[in-house]
């Protein structure tokens, strides 16, 4: 479900007229597949309103902000609609909030603490962004915290510092209509969500195993230039499924096969290392080089029966270097 958020009712007016949504509570309207709402002006109203909205209607997955913004550098054509890229926030007269939000658009926007009506503030803000509004950072902040997708589209209504509210009010309906038309165009052409890799049948996956499986699957598809189906076929999953073992054990085998396919050198090396360690194991001397077999870290365990056995084993260890157990890379 998507929500369209505005600062002022007049910005939303064309949307309300065309969609005729029902009012569900103060400033919030709902149609079958859309919420329309307005938050009031300024960072705090915006934050308060959107947090309430997202809390009350968890079915909202995506929020789009439409609204007016002023140009800080005078380089945008008036009445064009800009898709927003980065959103910054002015903290006080001479400081910016470090936290910013990157959206999918191109034009940078700064959310100011006040209306910009002096040249000094305009110059300062123009060093960070081309457009200024009063709310978008708050919407982006709330969306990020609740893992909602956020996009913002700003209609360049005037130049900062020249701001004449009465003029904008008189044009409000026409400006809202421009945003509505822009919305219709974008809405009919949404970008497709990323496809998640589905889990193969007949295996058992916990959440973390599923995550591991998807990671490996994605990497192997890229490495081999194939799709998921072709990949599973090449891994001979059918044979694994025919084994008379528990689904959990089948998953273990599948993941091991995938890991081996991704880094065969690592597996060959591991096997050779295990072979090199066998004579030591037989003497109850155990080396452990950690899961990634980095030679600079290792553990040694030794079992002994009595003092004599202890000393004999120590003597054997005295002349050995752990690195000598590592297979020679030239051999692989």
């Amino acid at each position: 479900m998507k929500a369209l958020i505005f600062a002022h009712r007049m910005e939303a007016i064309a949307f309300l007229d065309h969609l005729q949504p029902r009012s569900c509570e103060k400033n919030i309207y709902r149609s079958d597949d859309l919420f329309i709402t307005y938050s009031g002006e300024g960072l705090f109203s915006a934050l308060y309103h959107i947090q309430n909205l997202l809390l009350q209607y968890p079915e909202i997955e995506e929020v789009w902000n439409y609204g007016l913004a002023a140009s800080l550098n005078g380089q945008q054509e008036l009445h064009t609609i800009q898709s927003i890229g980065n959103i910054y926030r002015q903290k006080d007269q001479e400081n910016m909030d470090f936290q910013s939000f990157a959206l999918s658009g191109e034009m940078d926007l700064v959310t100011s603490i006040d209306r910009v009506n002096d040249a000094k503030t305009k110059t300062y803000l123009s060093r960070f962004a081309s457009l200024v509004d009063r709310e978008a950072w708050a919407y982006a902040y709330a969306c990020q915290r609740t893992h909602k997708t956020f996009r913002a589209f700003k209609l360049v209504s005037d130049f900062a510092e020249d701001l004449e509210c009465s003029q904008i009010r008189s044009r409000a309906e026409a400006l809202s209509l421009m945003m509505w038309e822009d919305y219709l165009q974008r809405h009919s052409n949404p970008s497709l969500p990323a496809k998640t890799i589905s889990l193969p049948k007949g295996f058992y996956f916990t959440a973390s195993l599923a995550h591991r499986y998807r990671e490996l699957n994605k990497k192997l598809q890229k490495k081999r230039g194939c799709n998921s189906e072709e990949l599973l076929c090449s891994l001979e999953t059918k044979k694994i499924l025919e084994l008379k073992i528990l689904p959990k054990e089948k998953t273990k085998i599948l993941l091991e096969k995938m890991e081996e396919a991704l880094d065969p050198d690592f597996f060959t090396f591991k096997k050779k290392l295990q072979a090199n360690l066998t004579p030591w194991k037989e003497q109850e001397i155990y080396f452990d080089f950690g899961p990634y077999l980095e030679p600079n870290e290792g553990q040694l365990q030794m079992r002994f029966q009595n003092d004599k056995d202890f000393l004999t084993k120590l003597q054997r260890l005295q002349n050995m270097k752990p690195s000598s157990i590592f297979p020679d890379p030239n051999e692989s």
Partner: protein, 334 residues
């Protein structure tokens, strides 16, 4: 490169480089500011903003101008330093560590090269004996925009008087224009990051192609410049060795293999932060389609056996192509 804004520190307004940068990017807005530190990295800017929204800062570097380089930086046993003449790069290598290092991809060019040179001289005098190394390009490409920054003659003059000091200019560009105007010096080495045609095309976005780098090296070779190669970072791929062999063969047909002063070899590696950033910036890159593990120094690398295999085979290949053993060093490896 699309530059939207140029920021100039007010005391540098009359500097000759400022007009060169402004003329090269005539559409960029000019902002006169007090100090670049008040704007650069003051807000978090996404790395990929460099696609279409770059700012350039022309500033003075304050604080440490020369720093000791990390261990295993170059040929071992000698002190290595790098000097800071710029932050960030116009290129976009998918593995670049700058994407996790700065909080903004904006480019900063420091114009007070005389101060940097002074700092180099001081460091030089602290080591009264033996060779020492200075590297440019720790935070940027050394040559990519050298036709605008035009600082090279200052360093050439300085290094002429510092015979024990070696300067390495490291690049992925083919921009040798400024170097060609200067006379080569025995203690200035131009090193090129080099890989296969396929790898450079896939991962070294916006840099000069391998063919263009070979041409650039050849131009410098005919001028008598000392050259070096960095086969670093090597990224595993199905035809890794044959692809590298092909590119190296093309290079060594133009310039004898043993002409190169040294060759470094390094397998792709990341700090944890850079690795995460890379995965966010290039989620579809096949560079990430590998078994990456946390290695001996906490960096994210290929598993040890794969690293060893790559380094061993690569080393063996270049030895067979005529490079002597002493000239090869393994970069940032145990």
């Amino acid at each position: 490169m699309k530059v939207n804004k140029i920021f100039v520190e007010e005391n540098l307004q009359g500097h000759e480089s400022v007009s060169r940068f402004c003329e090269s990017f005539p559409k960029a807005e000019l902002h006169i500011i007090d100090q670049y530190e008040n704007y650069f990295q003051k807000v978090k800017k996404p790395y990929l903003q460099k696609h279409n929204n770059n700012s350039i800062f022309l500033a003075e570097k304050r604080g440490n101008l020369v720093k000791a380089a990390p261990d295993a930086y170059g040929l071992s046993g000698e002190p290595h330093y790098y000097y800071i003449h710029a932050y960030n790069c116009m290129y976009e290598c998918q593995y670049c560590y700058l994407q996790g290092y700065f909080q903004s991809p904006d480019l900063v060019f420091f114009l007070n090269h005389e101060d940097i040179v002074e700092s180099i001289r001081r460091t030089y005098s602290e080591h009264p004996e033996g060779r020492m190394w200075f590297h440019a390009g720790e935070f940027s490409d050394s040559l990519a925009l050298s036709h605008l920054s035009k600082e090279l003659p200052i360093y050439f003059r300085a290094f002429q008087e510092l015979p024990r000091a070696y300067l390495e200019l490291r690049t992925k560009s083919a921009n040798t224009k400024e170097l060609e105007k200067l006379d080569p010096l025995e203690n200035i080495i131009v090193s090129f990051s080099f890989s296969s045609h396929t790898a450079a095309k896939k991962y070294d976005l916006k840099t000069a192609s391998i063919s263009a780098r070979i041409q650039a090296m050849y131009r410098l070779y005919t001028k008598g410049y000392r050259l070096a190669l960095h086969l670093d970072p090597i990224i595993d791929s199905p035809n890794l060795f044959s692809d590298y062999q092909q590119a190296l063969k093309e290079l060594f047909e133009k310039i004898p293999a043993n002409y190169f002063s040294y060759i470094s070899l390094g397998v792709v590696r990341f700090t944890k932060d850079v690795f995460e950033q890379t995965a966010r910036n290039y989620p579809e890159s096949d560079m990430l389609a590998a078994n990456f593990v946390k290695s001996f120094d906490n960096k994210v690398r290929y598993s040890k056996p794969l690293r060893d295999k790559i380094l061993y085979n690569m080393r063996d290949m270049i030895l067979r192509m005529g490079i002597t053993k002493e000239k090869i060093y393994l970069c940032m490896e145990d």
